[in-house]
């Protein structure tokens, strides 16, 4: 082995040792410059090739270039190793406590009041049956609230005892807060020719305040007027509604003759249920009866008041408390809490804003 070869081996061992001991990318770069930079030890060796004889160069050329290539590879390998170490260290340093809580989305915090939700449920069901939603004013006249609905003069409901009145105006007319949603029946008949299929949700008011009564409450009322609508159809509509609304496969309903001024014949409807579990009512099972709504054939005088001939047109109507069916369905015990805006109650009994009742997606799933 000649001196030059020996020299190259020593050089290689030295550079390789420096590479192995470089502890970061900066010191590794210094090793690279020291070996392969312009004046680096290996670069200097390469420069000597020019002064060699062809025979000498044939031997030394591959030897020096081989050295350069091995060092280059070793540098790259070490660099990759050092980067791996650095990344691992950075990642360790960047660690966060991911168990820390994040803020709840506003869409999860917000709530829709049960009354609004139930009105949407009702609209979904009756929309499917071809009904539209009608509305009317809260402040009504005696005519729309009573006279046109066949309440006789002197009927107890017309007294201050039951109805909220305003002071008489200069013409002596005394406005009132509607005691039911039925005035909208007349307003609709006045402006729309049959066939009529409407449901009327809205606020109603009565002079009543105790655990089960509120001076303001919500009713929904339905009206069908055409040339053939009869009690058989009425029964079907109510049965279908109750099944859909309470989301049970079947309901048993009991229709009892009753009395309302604006329908004849009139009926009250009980629904069979199981009340044996405290705070919960199950429909479609059990042996209790619960009164749920009033209904009947529109009284001929009401049709006349709406400008329709009762021998040509006929129809049926029904009405029930929105608050009440909401309480029954969702197990809310106290009516007064509906109007208190206690956020704990709203949070518990209210509905998430994106839970929109539809028939295709289920009313309340």
């Amino acid at each position: 082995m000649d001196v030059i070869t020996n020299d190259l081996q020593t050089l290689e061992a030295g550079v390789m040792a420096e590479i192995a001991s470089a502890s970061d990318e900066a010191s590794l770069e210094a090793v690279r410059v020291g070996a392969l930079g312009k004046k680096g030890t290996i670069s200097e060796k390469l420069k000597t090739l020019g002064g060699m004889s062809a025979e000498e160069r044939q031997v030394q050329g591959p030897a020096i270039n081989g050295l350069k290539n091995r060092v280059t590879e070793a540098l790259a390998a070490r660099k990759s190793e050092l980067r791996q170490v650095a990344v691992t260290a950075r990642l360790a340093a960047e660690k966060l406590d991911v168990t820390l809580p994040v803020r709840q989305s506003p869409a999860e915090r917000g709530r829709i009041h049960p009354i609004s939700q139930v009105i949407d449920e009702i609209a979904a069901i009756f929309g499917d049956l071809g009904f539209t939603i009608a509305e009317g004013p809260d402040i009504e006249t005696d005519h729309y609230n009573f006279t046109a609905l066949n309440f006789p003069e002197g009927h107890p409901a017309r007294e201050m005892h039951d109805t909220f009145f305003f002071q008489p105006d200069e013409k002596g007319e005394r406005k009132l807060l509607r005691t039911h949603t039925s005035p909208v029946q007349i307003r609709t008949m006045e402006t729309q020719q049959p066939p009529i299929r409407i449901v009327i949700p809205g606020k109603t008011y009565r002079q009543d305040s105790d655990a089960t009564h509120s001076p303001m409450f919500h009713q929904v009322e339905g009206l069908v007027v055409d040339k053939s609508a009869n009690i058989a159809n009425l029964k079907w509509v109510l049965e279908e509604f109750c099944k859909a609304f309470f989301e049970v496969p079947s309901v048993t309903m009991r229709f009892r003759p009753s009395f309302f001024p604006f329908t004849e014949p009139s009926m009250e409807v009980d629904i069979q249920c199981d009340r044996s579990r405290p705070g919960e009512v199950r429909f479609g099972e059990g042996s209790d009866w619960m009164e749920i709504l009033g209904c009947g054939m529109v009284h001929p005088n009401v049709l006349r008041a709406g400008g329709l001939d009762p021998d040509e047109y006929q129809g049926f109507a029904w009405g029930m408390g929105i608050d009440r069916i909401a309480m029954l369905k969702y197990g809310m015990p106290d009516l007064r809490a509906f109007f208190d805006a206690d956020v704990r109650w709203l949070q518990h009994y209210g509905f998430r804003p994106l839970d929109m009742p539809t028939l295709f997606g289920g009313l309340s799933t």
């Binding site: 939603i133 909220f164 159809n233 009892r256 009395f259 509906f338 109007f339 804003p353």
Partner: protein, 804 residues
């Protein structure tokens, strides 16, 4: 209306069980509200005390040996003073529930002596309030048998919730008639009275209503002399007690019995206490009467009375007077059977606050044709129970009954109910109910009986057939389908109302429903309080005025929550407000309120940074969220500084569409407003007038406009302008936008700075201008020209200079 089963069977021949009767009553419209079958009394048996010895360890107790009919006597410890050997009474064995003490008995040990049951008092069985001793029965009472059955206390009591259209069912007889008509038995016809009357009734009656409408369509009176008014017989007392009436004396009990038996209220006067003749008239203003309930009532001319020379003796049809009432000393009795104007009775009862069995019937309408027969039947009962000599009756004012006649096609039943009832069956039902039929074929004249004032048209007759045949016979039939996919059913306003709710809830707010009426002071503070919107009869003084705004209700609601310790609340309501008392003055408003730190992101402290107190910009963001959800043309809206007086003048705004249409207001609140509402903050709220947002334009297609995307890179440039402090940021953005409406895609404000370095009354507003080249890449010269134009525009329009 209450009755007992045995009472019903006095009038109805039937084999039906209690259950069948109860179900049928409900099915024909006489809704059974409660049935007390007295099963609770069944376990009590008749027992005899064989021996009674002093308790070894207690002075007031005795140890009884009781024969309960089982052969071996049982030992009972008893504290009743009347307990003694030989007494026959009512016994309760261990395991029996005793209603009067709400206890189920067990084998007891009383001061060392075992007790295997109990001898009961009437109060313990809830038969009366008697508790001075245990029940004592006659010697022939059969030991070992059921006490209730032997004493006929097991007569089931039925309570009917009567609708106002059924005056005919305010008496047991009328109920029996309805049941018989429905096929549940045969109505028993009462025998006609047979007594002999003699002489004229010495007391005359005049109806004196002057020139006002008569309130008395008929009055019948008779004197019965020489009666003995003791207790009524046991059967009558038991029936009256069973339906909750206290027996008083025979004459009074007879009137009560007739009230419930025939639905025919009567009144009895002690003739000795009546001075002169009777006058039926309107009360005089301020006239008083001491009524049978022991209370004095002050009357007025709206009230009808029966008076004699002493003054008012009775409030007609409602309650008799104390003065001329009958007691044990009564020997001559005047029996009154009269008719009264139903509306007047209802009003009188309400205005005086009197609820009686007489009022209940007269306000529904008592059968006019029952007036005289009722007097006859009552006279007969008086003679039967009290003896005496009846005079002839005196009848004034009664014009007889002319039946209403309804022309009725029997096909009407099918038309209205869908149920195919043969015509003959309908007519048979009418006849069983007492209606008259004239004519043949399917169109007949139906005359209405005197006891059915509610029936006056075809639909009423259909109801009679329906309830007798049974509504359960009507099979449900689907409503005809539209045979098409349903279209949109909601109006624009309804859709917007719904969207507003969901949009606000998605922003973390909770929907409240507050009362439509608020205190007058609050209504006035929010621009309302007009006399036309003031309730004449509010339920409470602080619920007097229709609300002009949803904000007072929400502020009060937020405060209630704060008072419960929950200060960070975000509430909204979408509902009506009232600007006037006609339909188009009822507005549809979406309003919201944030309190404390209830911001969009969340509230309260959090490791990532505490939420800031709410302010005007939270309210503004909510208002715009509603407007966007409702489809308002948000890009066209202007925000003007300042809102209505209830807001903070420097921290509120008004949202307008054009110069006139106000779509909303928002802001923090004026301290005076919060003082008035007794509320504290931080609070910020808004109102959006959903009904003022214009209808969207009708479009022929749903195609969206073509999307134009520039292929050149968008560029952003920042500018900071120093302006006077009161220059609105909005005007700087607007000026910048105006520099080149094609190239500038948007301007946003990213910093506001005020500091001494800028000079007194100055602020710096930093904006970022988004530039979107459309047809070529912009050169540096192009940018410089655009920047210069922006600076020039802002300078011209706001006085702002580029910050150095």
């Amino acid at each position: 209306m209450k009755l007992t089963l045995s009472w019903l069977k006095d009038h109805l021949e039937t084999d039906a069980t209690l259950d069948q009767i109860v179900q049928r009553l409900t099915a024909i419209g006489l809704e059974v509200e409660a049935v007390d079958d007295k099963a609770g009394l069944r376990p009590f048996t008749i027992a005899k005390v064989l021996t009674a010895e002093k308790h070894p360890d207690a002075d007031k107790l005795q140890v009884l040996s009781v024969d309960i009919g089982s052969g071996s006597p049982v030992q009972v410890v008893c504290g009743a003073p009347n307990a003694r050997a030989g007494l026959i009474g009512a016994f309760a064995a261990p395991g029996t529930y005793v209603p009067g003490i709400d206890t189920t008995l067990s084998v007891g040990n009383i001061r060392g002596v075992e007790s295997r049951g109990m001898m009961c008092s009437e109060r313990e069985l809830e038969l009366s309030d008697e508790h001075n001793g245990i029940i004592e029965l006659p010697e022939d009472a059969p030991v070992g048998q059921s006490y209730a059955a032997w004493a006929q206390l097991d007569d089931p009591v039925i309570e009917i919730n009567l609708t106002p259209n059924h005056p005919d069912a305010t008496g047991v007889y009328g109920i029996a008639r309805d049941l018989a008509a429905s096929g549940l038995g045969t109505l028993k016809q009462p025998a006609a009275p047979t007594f002999q009357a003699s002489g004229e009734c010495p007391v005359d009656v005049s109806l004196d209503f002057g020139d006002t409408p008569s309130l008395c369509p008929g009055f019948a009176l008779r004197l019965v002399r020489d009666v003995r008014n003791g207790s009524s017989p046991k059967w009558m007392q038991q029936r009256l007690m069973a339906i909750g009436l206290r027996p008083i004396n025979a004459l009074v009990d007879i009137t009560n019995y007739m009230t419930f038996d025939q639905g025919r209220p009567l009144h009895v006067f002690d003739a000795a206490k009546v001075q002169g003749d009777l006058t039926v008239r309107r009360a005089r203003d301020g006239e008083t009467v001491l009524a049978l309930d022991g209370r004095e009532y002050t009357l007025n001319p709206e009230i009808c009375v029966i008076a004699d020379d002493n003054g008012v003796e009775s409030i007609a049809g409602v309650m008799g007077g104390e003065h001329s009432g009958c007691d044990e000393s009564t020997t001559d009795v005047l029996i009154e059977s009269a008719l009264w104007e139903p509306l007047n009775i209802a009003r009188t009862g309400r205005s005086l606050g009197i609820i009686t069995d007489a009022r209940y019937r007269f306000e529904r309408g008592v059968d006019p044709e029952g007036m005289v027969p009722g007097l006859e039947r009552a006279t007969e009962l008086v003679l039967e129970l009290c003896g005496g000599q009846p005079t002839e009756s005196r009848v004034v004012g009664y014009n007889g009954y002319t039946p209403k006649v309804v022309t009725f096609a029997t096909t009407e039943v099918k038309r209205l109910t869908g149920l195919d009832v043969p015509g003959e069956q309908s007519l048979e039902i009418f006849q069983r109910l007492g209606f008259g039929i004239e004519g043949a074929g399917y169109i007949v004249d139906v005359s209405v009986p005197s006891w059915r004032p509610d029936v006056d048209g075809k639909a009423d007759l259909v109801e009679e057939v329906m309830r007798m045949v049974g509504i359960d016979q009507i099979a449900s039939a689907p409503l005809a389908s539209h045979d098409a996919v349903n279209g949109r059913i909601l109006t624009t306003l309804q859709i917007r109302t719904r969207n507003a709710r969901r949009a606000l809830a998605v922003r973390g707010m909770m929907e409240a429903v507050t009362y439509s009426f608020i205190p007058e002071s609050q209504a006035k503070a929010f621009g309302g309080g007009s006399p036309s919107l003031k309730l004449a009869n509010p339920i409470a003084a602080d619920m007097s005025d229709m609300r002009p705004s949803l904000l007072p209700g929400l502020i009060a609601a937020a405060q209630r929550n704060a008072d419960r310790g929950i200060g960070d609340v975000a509430l909204f309501e979408v509902s009506g407000t009232y600007e006037g008392n006609v339909p188009d003055k009822q507005r549809r408003v979406a309003a919201g309120l944030r309190r404390g730190t209830a911001t969009l992101e969340g509230s309260g402290r959090h490791w990532s940074g505490a939420a800031k107190p709410v302010g005007v910009f939270d309210a503004k963001a909510d208002a715009f969220a509603v407007l966007e959800a409702c489809g308002a043309p948000v890009y066209k809206l202007q925000v003007e500084a300042g809102g209505p007086s209830w807001y903070h003048p420097g921290r509120s705004g008004t949202i307008k569409l054009g110069p006139k249409v106000v779509l909303g207001t928002f802001g923090e609140f004026h301290p005076d407003t919060l003082d008035l509402l007794d509320a504290n903050g931080p609070l910020a709220g808004f109102e959006v007038f959903v009904d003022a947002i214009p209808e969207p334009k009708q479009k022929a297609t749903r195609t969206k406009p073509k999307l134009e995307l520039s292929s050149f890179q968008a560029v952003k440039r920042d500018f900071a302008f120093v302006v006077e402090r009161d220059v609105e940021a909005g005007s700087i953005s607007k000026a910048a936008l105006g520099a080149d409406k094609k190239l500038i895609a948007g301007v946003s404000v990213f910093d506001i700075f005020e500091g001494a370095a800028l000079g007194e009354g100055k602020k710096s507003v930093a904006i970022e201008v988004a530039i979107q080249p459309l047809d070529k890449t912009l050169t540096e010269e192009d940018f410089e020209a655009l920047a210069a134009k922006i600076v020039e525009n802002v300078g011209k329009q706001t006085g702002g200079v580029l910050r150095g």
